[in-house]
């Protein structure tokens, strides 16, 4: 049990990855690999659950690999166990889905080996207990996922997506490398124990925090470092997209939590403020991007950006409360953030798998060529609907509970000591409310356009329900969303052993409350009972339906749609995703994205169709990524000169560099 079993699981996954190279050729090869991944993920999941629930004590292990004087340290503590649950639950779900979905894969050998290796990389990153093995696993995870992004490299835009991802991933790892370098100090104490024991100075703490934000934030998709995410996540096969969006971003959150809460000691209140404000901006920007999108998978990827923002809001609040010594509030905010980590991994996996099912059934990702799928794919449509309700933070599902907890944490912020922090937290509260409301609008759009209405293309009209493995996985994830929504007390209690070492307190035990109510602070302050609310809604809806069918009319006639007397037979007269978002685009998009609409109306008598062209600018790309890319290009061009020197000049350059470094060292000492 414990960390050793976790390592065995990762090792088995690596072996599976190697075995997948020859197996990919075989007819049932992909089924064998996915079945192996599923089995190993389940074992790892149970192992992590046991560790989190305290059935097995925290354990560590040292492998004689890696740096010769250090070895590779691994440890399974409650924090790692929780994130392992997220990783392995997502891994198990994606593998189960892929048992059916993998059959649609045209080139399985481009996917299978990297898929298993990717799972192993994520497991190892969470288990790592020293900077070296952490970074190594992190980079391994990045590279294997990059290979998965490039699996369909011949498709349009995928090569560019892979390139941008590779650049951003390297940048992120570089930032983390520097962060760990600062943490380890000049003596090079790379073990997490040694880092925890060291107390870096004020400047070092600030630098490490910023580097960790850059490194983990770029992997998680924090605005403005998110530009790669909506390109790369949708480019991969859909079950891998589910893993990247639902799980890999959580590993990035893990990296941030590990550094900011565990290794770094206690950063000041400004740290909380920075994270909080970045989270708020990320949440709103992410959902606005998503609203402007008409590609189903890209829409989901942008939503990941929004949810990462919500998680960072919770983390920032927790850092702020902790810095001010309000440890119970800090525990509440941290619990809210981590609860949202779990929730997002559940519903985002579900939604990406759903989009994969749609892709397999219709070959379309563009929502404006879908429609009416609820009639052709009822089970997928039902599961996808549950995912949409959950991600829109609507009760009684799980997304609402974590946002509710975040709001409760924000309502505690008037007691904060710093004036700026108080203003920031209420403003971020407004941003959070805005992003929640916009998310609901966005998923009305996503579901309404893709699954409801009339089919907008031949392929959507002829869609067939996907196989039982795929639908089963989606229904299972939907059930988990509902369970976490109506029994949130158990999740909160499971998070208690994790919050205590990180912020010094945990929420009171919730499962002991009467009727399974959750009461984060005090009963007079706030309480919520998902189970009761679910029962109320279900019973009153059912009762109303029963009474009406029994006592009033129950006859039903079918007729053509009325539509005010002028039903339009063409399915293109329906609202499309672009037109659905038009009011919101006018209100928000004209400022944020400089959205412009140009209408080209042909002269009377001209047979050409009228055209409406919408142009959007990506502010993050325009303001940050493009200038940096230009600067790098410019510098590379200037340095090109160095490529054509004589050997004599190279030698003198090397010598000059050596002298310069020695001089700097001499002055430093």
């Amino acid at each position: 049990m414990g960390v050793v079993l976790g390592l065995y699981c990762s090792g088995t996954l690596l072996l599976a990855a190697i075995a997948a190279v020859p197996l990919g050729r075989a007819r049932l090869g992909s089924i064998a690999v996915y079945a192996a991944c599923l089995a190993v993920s389940l074992v790892a999941l149970i192992n992590a659950l046991a560790a989190l629930l305290g059935l097995a004590p925290a354990s560590d292990a040292v492998l004689p690999i890696g740096l010769p004087w250090l070895g590779a340290h691994f440890r399974l503590d409650p924090l790692a166990a929780f994130f392992l649950i997220v990783v392995d639950l997502g891994g198990a779900a994606a593998s189960l889905f892929a048992l059916g979905y993998g059959r649609h894969e045209p080139a399985p050998r481009r996917v299978l080996p990297f898929y298993a290796a990717f799972l192993a990389g994520m497991n190892l990153t969470v288990l790592a207990d020293d900077a070296f093995s952490f970074l190594l696993s992190w980079e391994f995870m990045s590279l294997t996922s990059w290979a998965l992004v490039m699996a369909h490299h011949r498709e349009r835009d995928n090569a560019r997506a892979g390139y941008v991802y590779l650049v951003m991933a390297s940048f992120g790892t570089l930032a983390l490398l520097l962060a760990f370098g600062l943490l380890a100090g000049p003596a090079g104490a790379y073990g997490f124990d040694a880092i925890r024991a060291a107390h870096p100075g004020e400047t070092a703490v600030a630098l490490v925090l910023i580097l960790a934000l850059l490194g983990a934030g770029s992997k998680a998709g924090l605005v403005p470092l998110h530009v790669w995410l909506p390109l790369a996540h949708p480019a991969a096969p859909s079950h891998v997209s589910a893993l990247m969006s639902g799980v890999m971003t959580k590993v990035a959150i893990y990296g941030f939590v590990r550094i900011a809460f565990d290794l770094l000691g206690a950063p000041g209140w400004w740290a909380g403020m920075t994270v909080l404000v970045l989270g708020g901006i990320t949440a709103v920007m992410g959902v606005l991007y998503a609203l402007m999108e008409h590609d189903l998978k890209r829409l989901l990827a942008y939503h990941t950006v929004e949810n990462i923002g919500i998680i960072f809001i919770g983390l920032g609040l927790s850092l702020a409360f902790r810095a001010d010594g309000m440890i119970l509030a800090a525990a509440l905010a941290l619990t809210a953030a981590l609860f949202h980590v779990l929730n997002h991994s559940l519903f985002k996996s579900l939604l990406f798998l759903g989009s994969g099912a749609v892709l397999a059934a219709t070959g379309e990702r563009n929502m404006d060529r879908l429609g009416g799928l609820i009639r052709r794919m009822p089970r997928t449509a039902f599961a996808f609907l549950i995912g949409c309700v959950a991600i829109s933070a609507l009760p009684p599902l799980n997304g609402f509970v974590s946002e509710w907890l975040t709001f409760q944490a924000i309502l505690l912020s008037p007691d904060l000591a710093q004036w700026g922090l108080r203003i920031a937290s209420v403003s971020v509260g407004a941003l959070l409310a805005l992003s929640a409301a916009l998310a609901a609008a966005c998923f009305v759009k996503a579901y309404g356009i893709s699954f409801l209405g009339r089919p907008r293309s031949e392929s959507a009209a002829r869609a067939r329900e996907v196989d039982a493995w795929s639908t089963g996985t989606m229904i299972l994830l939907a059930a988990l969303c509902l369970l976490a929504g109506i029994l949130p007390g158990f999740v909160i209690d499971a998070l208690a052993p994790l919050a205590r070492p990180l912020v010094g307190a945990n929420l009171p035990a919730q499962s002991a409350m009467s009727w399974l109510t959750i009461v984060p602070i005090a009963a007079s302050r706030s309480s919520y009972n998902g189970l009761l609310v679910f029962l109320f809604i279900a019973s009153s809806g059912g009762l109303a339906a029963f009474a009406i069918h029994r006592l009033a009319s129950r006859t039903l006639r079918r007729a053509p749609p009325w539509d005010c007397g002028f039903p339009e037979p063409s399915p293109f007269a329906q609202y499309s995703s672009v037109s659905f978002a038009q009011p919101i685009r006018r209100v928000f998009g004209s400022v944020v994205f400089r959205a412009r609409e140009a209408v080209t109306m042909p002269a009377p008598g001209d047979a050409r169709p009228a055209l409406l062209a919408v142009t959007l600018r990506d502010p993050a790309w325009d303001a940050i990524v493009a200038p940096v890319a230009r600067a790098v290009g410019f510098a590379a061009e200037r340095m090109n000169y160095l490529q054509f020197l004589t050997i004599r000049r190279y030698l003198s350059l090397v010598f000059a560099a050596l002298v310069a470094i020695l001089l700097i060292l001499a002055i430093w000492q």
Binding site: G372, I374, R375, P378, V389, S392, L394, P395, F400, W404, F407, L411, P414, V426, G429, A430, A433, L434, A437, L438, A440, A441, F443, V444, G448, L452, G453, T517, A523, S524, S526, S527, Y528, N529, L532, V533, I537, S540, G541, A544, A545, I548, A552, S553, L556, R557, R558, A559, P561, D563, P571, A573, Q574, Y575, S579, F580, A581, P583, I584, V587
Partner: protein, 318 residues
């Protein structure tokens, strides 16, 4: 016995809101008609309309899905549960702890979500236009509402409506700037959420300005009845909420006996009548807005709410 009495109280509240909701709609319509110097239909006309709709066959579009048929009941259930959790005639209801004010707002969000989806199910352009505009209104009204909740919760130190109502009735509240701002914001949000003039017009059909009526255009028979009832319940909820927060007088205390309960119900009826009459008066004295003016109107509510909450964060006495 200790459980039975509160249970009866809660059940009475649920039936009370359900029974009174059409009456409130009738009062608003009657007031509007009288102000326009029409005689108008009787205040119980909404009940007759509901009964008529319930008796009729439901006509369904040929391609309507199961979502279309279940959505009315879901919308109704979510709205009913939300309305039953707002204190009307008594505080300290049995299940008031099962959801706080944030959750009540979120129930209405769930109802809105399904209503917008139902509007898009048949695939007509009217449904789409309604859903799209409802999404816009909702995405502005909900954060504004959240800011009002923030303000109230910070003043009362709780998001539990029973606690808040009890606090608002106590002399500790006093006159506060932030509460005044929150009241204005809440009225704006209530108008928008209930599809009233100047945001939407509940009396029109076949007009390009409509939002709520466009979404439910394809509904008929019992489905339409349930949706209309849910709309009435939502209006009642907002009037009760405003009354509960800003006119918290005359609540029956917990365990006060039948006489106290009867007094509480009378006070509640008076509040409802006043709210309905005020709404009718307001609607007749203002013109409908263009759709793209609505964001400014709601944006004002959001800013007022944010200002109110910020005042609370800066000073405890404002």
């Amino acid at each position: 016995m200790a459980v039975i009495q509160p249970l009866i109280g809660q059940a009475a509240q649920m039936l009370l809101v359900l029974g009174l909701a059409p009456l409130l709609t009738g009062i608003v319509r009657k007031t509007k008609a009288r102000l326009l110097r029409r005689r108008g239909a009787s205040v119980i006309q909404p009940y007759r309309d509901l009964a008529r709709l319930l008796r009729k066959d439901a006509v369904l579009a040929e391609n309507a899905s199961w979502l279309y048929r279940t959505a009315p009941y879901l919308i109704f259930a979510a709205t009913w549960v939300a309305a039953a959790l707002v204190p009307t005639f008594a505080t300290g209801l049995m299940f008031s702890w099962s959801a706080d004010l944030i959750a009540i707002i979120a129930f209405l969000g769930t109802a809105r979500f399904f209503l917008a989806l139902a509007g898009m199910d048949v695939g007509t352009s009217f449904g789409g236009i309604g859903a799209s505009r409802e999404a816009l209104i909702g995405s502005l009204a909900e954060p504004a509402m959240m800011m009002i909740v923030f303000t109230v919760a910070l003043i009362a130190g709780s998001t539990q409506l029973s606690t808040v109502a009890a606090f608002m009735a106590s002399p500790a509240v006093g006159l506060r700037v932030s509460l005044g701002l929150a009241l204005v914001a809440l009225v704006i949000v209530a108008l928008a959420e209930n599809a009233r003039i100047p945001v939407d017009n509940p009396a029109t059909h076949l007009e390009l300005t409509m939002v709520h009526e466009a979404m439910v255009l394809e509904y008929s028979g019992r489905h339409l009845a349930v949706i209309e009832l849910a709309a009435s319940l939502k209006l009642l909820l907002y009037v009760s909420l405003i009354a509960c927060l800003f006119a918290p007088w005359g609540f029956a205390p917990a365990g006060g006996g039948l006489a106290a309960d009867a007094l509480g119900i009378l006070a509640y009826l008076a509040k409802l009548a006043a709210g309905g009459a005020l709404l009718g008066l307001f609607e007749t004295s203002i013109a409908k807005m263009r759709v793209f003016r609505v964001p400014e109107f709601l944006g004002a509510a959001l800013m007022l709410g944010l200002l109110a909450a910020l005042l609370r964060f800066v000073s405890r006495s404002l």
